[in-house]
Amino acid sequence: MIDQHREAFKEEASELLSDLENSLLDLEKNPENLELVGGIFRAMHTIKGSGAMFGFDDIAALMHNVESAYDRIRNGKLQVTGELISLTLAVCDQVRRLIDGSNSGTRNDEKVGTFIEAFREILDGCDSGEKAKTSSPEPNDAAPVSSEGTTYRIRFQPKAQIFANGTNPLPLLQELLELGAGRLIAQTQSVPALDEIDPETCYVYWDIILTTSRGINAIRDVFIFVEEGCDLSIEEIDRSSVAENAEDRKELGVILVESTAQESGAIRVAPAGDERRAESRRKRSTEQSSSIRVQADKLDRLVNMVGELVTVQSRLTQIASEQNHPQIVRVAEDVERLVAELRDTTMSIRMLPIGTAFSKFRRLVHDLAKELGKEIALVTQGEDTEIDKTVIERLNDPLVHLIRNSIDHGIEPPDVRKAQGKSAKGTITLSAEHSGTSVVIRITDDGAGLDAEAIRAKAIERGLIGADASLSEHEIHQLILQPGLSTAGKLTSVSGRGVGMDVVKRNVEALQGTVEIDSRRGAGATMTLVLPLTLAIIDGLLVEIGEESYVLPLSAVEECVELNHSESGRDNGQNLAMIRGELVPYIPVRDLFGIEGTPPTIEQIVTAKIDGSRVGFVVDRVIGQHQTVIKTLGRVYKDVDVVSGATILGDGRVVLILDLPKVVKKAERCTRTPDNSGRAA
């Protein structure tokens, strides 16, 4: 049970850390934004509190010091600086390490000590400056109410079950007293006699008079974890109504009891600004209650079952049309409609806004730019674009790679940029948009762009292209996605691009996506990733070759035309067909796969865009569009690289889904070594 809670804490803390990072980066840009500071403080406070609760003592200790610094900022006693932000970001990393690496929670980590020390120094510097200015009393001073600041009357009435939730009110009260000078009294009127008392129910509530210069927010923050588990009222009061000395202690009781006329259940807030806060809290709690956390594997199971249902439904539709029984047909149509709705709803559950992935890169850009002495702004667009959660997860590495490349090799140092008449600060734009059943992600930089000549020279040297090959600049740019080129470290210093780009391409292709590069020398580069919305169900094009059926991902398909043998020929070992006035290389799939039988007189050629070039795939017949539920093939078929999965047709037949870029590669290999390929061209 405890482990389960610890896992929940880890999950929650990871999310909070991501939000924290974004807020910190925002704060660096807008150091005056106190709303951001408040948000940062609350996130830290939550991590601290729940960390302590689940035995992550290091995290709690670390966060305690950091949040104190942000509390000083909130109260205008400390300035936001780049160093402070960097230090806090480093703390976030440390906390993440503690969460990821620790199962014991109380690991003694020297780094934690170093960070705590660093923040203590900041706090000491801040406090000594403050003391010199105001000579205010120590916050821990529990002297009678006479210190600087505002006086509040607080009633803290925990719900009866607070003990059962694992909350101990004493540390909260102690934290409250640390905010300033205060007096509190336990109200025990509701405590029943021994034979009636439930020992695990809380009957006590507290009235507190607190004078603090830390503001009402600091008071609220103390109770941040028990917000739902207590009734809390905070009211600013006139200090003159509070006894200046403690001689007549009755007076405190009188003030507390008599002047606390309000219903203890209601949250009453005095300053007008807090109405807003209360409103946002109400809103937050509504939002919380309207969404629930579901384990990802449960969702995966649901998607799988919907996939099965889609398959069964298409069988039903087929049988209904074969039987041609009006009543069955009607039922089949209803089922089809409902299944389609169910499928869309299920898929939408898995959809996440891509902004969750984008936000991670702000940190990457911030850190790397600093490290390289460059000035870079990251602009994100279309964060609301939704995409399948699996795609988002697997997109992370390629995007990191592309952004690193842009920062490292694309954007020039400020002095170089200035010399070229550009602004010293470079810009990387990360954008996402829907396009049909795909999502298009673009990473654009206004840096140096690609050096086509250098790439071409390198490609010739590596034997990727012939010395006399005539390639457009666009085609040359795509060459950096080839393994032979991209693994060459030297190319980086020549062209400024290319490390590991083949890895990016491979990862994106594994997601059934494509990568394309556009660049203008001196003006920058754009990497365009086109990805399917989901990996679970795709739109496919069902084709037949002899007795065999195959599915081609529709997202890649451009058009289907009849293959006119009179307008096709061979050149340099390649089959070429004239389609709409353009010579398009094509692959006779029947020959490539060694399928027996005679092709029909009129074959079909399906053209697709592969690596920026048009390629035709010759098949016997095109059946039509097919809603394809993707099934993995299992380990036995893991070496069959020309298929990306399988699907089940309405009649129960299993059909392979072709991985078109890999089919092209296989065809290229066969062209070079014709003996291995049966009758391949």
Binding site: L170, L173, L177, A193, L194, D195, P199, E200, V204
Partner: protein, 115 residues
Amino acid sequence: MSHELSTVGATTPVRLQGEWTIQRARELKELLTDRLSVQRVLALDLRDVSEIDVAALQLICSAHQTAQMRGGDIFISSPLSSTIEEALHIGGFSQRLSCNLYEKNPCLLGRGDRG
């Protein structure tokens, strides 16, 4: 052993030792109920209590009220450890003056009634 009982005249000393928190709240209730069923006046010795929380403090408060209702009393017979002092201070008990039930009687946990 975390608590010792021995009867001295009409007063039963109840010596609590160790941690008395929510985990042992039921045990404490049973103990106090049991003692008050046989004796009207209890002398609580808290010097060896290493930790105490609100659940335990409110039980002591409840026992004090119960004893008074039955014409008895509870008093604290020992000096208090700094742990208890701190818990009473932070918990706002030591600031209490009188008992809720019998306003003229001092609060057991408040500053007026110790020793």
